[in-house]
């Protein structure tokens, strides 16, 4: 399958210059490189500009509620581990409304990939600060500037087996990170930094371009959790992109579950009469 085979032929409702176009392109390229067919993939999204990507791709889609993206993705993976499940949405969705699901699915370690479009701003609701917005960032809803500290998703995700950061301005690199994340057998998070030309006038394309650097060129060892921790805590003007951490393969939730060892739940036949009789015999 070519990358174009994963793109839906529909009108895209994103703003000109939005980083989402590049992320869409990178995802299509990654799915193509992985040798997947559209029907083997379920893209789960929430609500927001980023979440619309499900309608612009040609794969199975579950466009659920704002914030509940990872929860729905977890349910899908539990019911049918044969599907390649990608949960994708914005920083407001995954880190704001849905923060609890991120924490607990890092714990579960299902083989799902979470892609977060991180533009540090709420686009669809017109420009409010997101959890990753820098302190002092002024919007119509935060007239005194953001008083809270920005949320550091890579730092919180340190318990996950695979953590990466991408920049939408580097499409090939982003596609490579998507491939590695999807290939990783376990919970993988890719935080994709991207500009929002409509609302974020501070973290622009040029602003990112000046600051990002490839960790693979800086001698970072992604298999060392302590070095990874150090990297995401660094308080500098430079922003690392690449694989921050890739842990050893551990059994996933679905691999450990005795019921799922016998195959997906989807497609199992209804119980046979003798199974029901043995269940009801408990009460006789």
């Amino acid at each position: 399958m070519k990358p174009e085979d994963f793109l839906a032929d529909v009108e895209l409702a994103w703003c000109p210059g939005c980083g989402n176009f590049a992320i869409r392109k990178a995802l299509a390229q990654a799915l193509s490189e992985l040798g997947l067919s559209p029907h083997q993939v379920v893209l789960v999204t929430g609500i927001g500009q980023a979440a619309k990507i499900v309608h612009y791709m040609k794969v199975n889609g579950f466009d659920g509620l704002h914030g509940r993206t990872i929860a729905a993705a977890a349910g899908i993976k539990m019911a049918n581990p044969n599907l390649t499940v990608i949960a994708e949405s914005g920083d407001g969705d995954i880190y704001g409304e849905g923060g609890n699901h991120l924490i607990h699915n890092i714990r579960r370690n299902l083989d799902i990939t979470v892609i977060v479009h991180d533009n540090r701003v709420y686009g669809l609701t017109k420009g409010q600060a997101s959890p990753t917005a820098p302190a002092g960032y002024r919007t119509r809803a935060q007239p005194f500037g953001v008083l809270s500290r920005p949320f550091n998703p890579l730092s919180l995700a340190m318990g996950a087996g695979f953590i990466a950061q991408a920049f939408s301005g580097e499409v090939e690199h982003t596609a490579m990170l998507f491939v590695r994340a999807i290939k990783y057998r376990g919970f993988a998070l890719v935080n994709v930094l991207h500009p929002c030309p409509s609302w974020n006038r501070v973290q622009t394309f040029a602003w990112y371009k000046e600051r990002v650097y490839f960790v693979e060129e800086s001698g970072h060892d992604p298999h060392d959790r302590f070095k990874a921790w150090h990297l995401v805590q660094e308080n500098s003007d430079r922003i690392p992109i690449g694989i921050i951490f890739e842990g050893p393969q551990e059994p996933t939730w679905e691999e450990k579950h005795p019921v799922l060892r016998e195959g997906p739940l989807a497609g199992r036949p209804l119980l046979r009469p003798q199974e029901i009789s043995s269940l009801l015999a408990e009460f006789v």
Binding site: K58, G61, F62, D63, A71, L83, N100, R268, L280, F283
Partner: protein
């Protein structure tokens, strides 16, 4: 004890009442023995077994003149009819097994009740399994402490295999397994949790994934994800947890993905009385969810109907691709009853999804194709080259986001059309006696069936002018017929375990019939028939 009575061929109702703490507090099990099926508890005790001083203080007022009390010595129960037994001391000294004190007391009351020791031994073996031996010794000790039976139990009414002993919670769980439930996600909340534990313990055997979610919002979204991917899914919770699920309920309506929601009701608002009972979420369950969509709502009356209605909830959820809500309460979930042998054959369980072969035959697959019934052929993702897309935004027939106002209108109508089909599947309320003409009709729903029926029978012994109409299916109903039947009544009184009369409001809205009064119990304890009789007579 309940099992011994059941093994003796007798009917029983066992009601559990407890405080919201891990140990101690006032915990009680009210066991009613009968020669016919009973689904109600009683206010007074013929035989009271007392374990602690707190229990003695709380329950001595439940005694009548002829009552007998068997008490653990340290409970310091005093009175003419009190048999005091040093069960703790005996268990410690003779068995070196203090926890068996309860079985010593059980042995004593079993003999007083006139049960056979063999039957009780058998019940202990069934309950304790490998750990039965010290408990059988305890039974011997207790048996030897009293001489004769002081009660006369009815003769056995049935043979083994003809009836079943189970709680409402077990029945919901067994119904779910029978209906093909493959996935349950829930956050623990009393009294919804017994259903989660029932499925979790049998998951490996019957192929069910049970996951404790991080919160109720996750639970319903996981269940919807699993259902979309092809696993029959359910959640179990109580009113507060359901409140958190409501956006997910609305999502189920929008993406037309089946899910079964069990709500074990307890008194609210907010945290309320966590371990007590109150059927007070009827209107909440019926109207929860922003926007309009079809749903099925039922409230089983007994463990038997809890089994069947749970199957029906799964079946209707799958057939009509809607959320189905089962309303029980702590009283039903935790109470044991002896019910006619349940059998899965009463409801046909069908697969309502497209087979991979059928799915592959579509030229292009529309998940939300417009149909006369409102129900579109449902395919599962990954089973053919076709793609399955669902969307919480308004969407076109392919599931793609749209703001086309013509499509929006067609989709609203499609989602609501399903109610017509559902309406044909629900049962009208049970009416007793058949002709309501000129009678005072007590109207109730859910777990109070047995209680209200008994109250009506008691009332009719004095003046035969009362009747009972009881709802188990609650939405959608064929209200015109119900209105005609109830219209014959001289007077309509609602009897509900809540303070407002929620069914009364629904009746008035749907039929124009205005109940003349509401009898409610809302202290967190279940109604007894005597409560209702007293209220009716008091007013008259």
């Amino acid at each position: 004890m309940a099992r011994s009575i059941f093994r003796s061929g007798l009917f029983l109702h066992g009601e559990l009442s407890f405080h919201s703490r891990i140990r101690g507090g006032e915990n009680a099990f009210t066991l009613r023995i009968s020669d016919h099926p009973v689904y109600a508890t009683k206010p007074m005790a013929d035989l009271l077994l007392v374990l602690t001083p707190e229990m003695w203080r709380a329950y001595r007022e439940k005694l009548h003149k002829g009552s007998l009390v068997v008490a653990e010595e340290s409970a310091r129960a005093e009175g003419e009819n009190v048999i005091s037994i040093p069960a703790l001391k005996l268990a410690r000294e003779k068995l070196n097994f203090p926890i068996a004190a309860g079985v010593i007391l059980l042995g004593a009351i079993a003999r007083l009740l006139g049960l056979s020791q063999e039957t009780v031994s058998q019940a202990i073996r069934e309950v304790f399994g490998e750990k039965a031996d010290p408990n059988l010794d305890a039974l011997d000790i207790g048996w030897g402490l009293v001489s004769d039976s002081l009660f006369e139990l009815p003769a056995p009414q049935f043979r083994r295999g003809e009836y079943m002993l189970l709680t409402g919670g077990q029945a919901v769980g067994a119904g779910a397994i029978t209906a093909g439930c493959r996935f349950l996600a829930s956050y623990p909340m009393t009294p919804g949790t017994p259903v989660m534990e029932f499925l979790a313990q049998r998951g490996e055997r019957y192929g069910i994934v049970v996951e404790q979610a991080e919160d109720e919002i996750a639970a319903i979204n996981m269940a919807l994800g699993a259902s979309y991917a092809g696993a029959r899914s359910m959640v179990t919770t109580s009113g507060g947890g359901f409140a958190l699920m409501v956006e997910g309920l609305s999502l189920a309506g929008m993406i037309e993905t089946p899910v079964v929601i069990h709500i074990g009701q307890r008194p609210g608002p907010a945290t309320g009385l966590p371990t007590r009972t109150s059927p007070e979420n009827l209107l909440f369950a019926l109207y929860a969810g922003h926007g309009g969509f079809s749903r099925y709502l039922c409230a089983p009356a007994t463990p038997e109907s809890a089994f069947y209605l749970t199957i029906k909830a799964f079946e209707l959820a799958e057939k009509y691709q809607v959320p189905a809500i089962i309303l029980t309460d702590q009283f039903l979930v935790d109470s044991y009853a002896v019910v006619p042998k349940i059998s899965p054959e009463r409801f046909r369980i069908n697969d309502h999804t497209l087979s991979p072969e059928q799915f592959a035959q579509f030229a292009s697959y529309e998940r939300f194709a417009l149909t006369e019934s409102g129900v579109s052929p449902r395919a599962l993702p990954g089973l053919s080259q076709h793609l399955v897309l669902v969307d919480s935004d308004e969407h076109d027939t392919y599931g793609r986001i749209t703001e086309d106002l013509t499509i929006r209108k067609a989709m609203v109508e499609k989602r609501l059309r399903k109610e017509k089909g559902l309406q044909r599947e629900t049962d009208n309320p049970s009416v007793f006696p058949e002709d309501l003409h000129g009678r005072v009709v007590l109207v109730s729903w859910g777990s109070t069936l047995g209680t209200v029926r008994e109250a009506v029978e008691i009332l009719n012994t004095q003046e035969d002018c009362f009747a009972h109409v009881h709802f188990q299916d609650l939405w959608p109903l064929r209200w015109k017929g119900i209105s005609e039947v109830l219209g014959e009544a001289k007077e309509v009184i609602t009897v509900e375990g809540n303070a407002w009369g929620q069914l009364g409001k629904l009746l008035r809205q749907e039929t124009g019939i205005r109940p003349s009064r509401h009898i409610g119990r809302y202290d967190g304890r279940p109604f007894t028939p005597e409560d209702i009789v007293e209220e009716i007579r008091h007013e008259a």
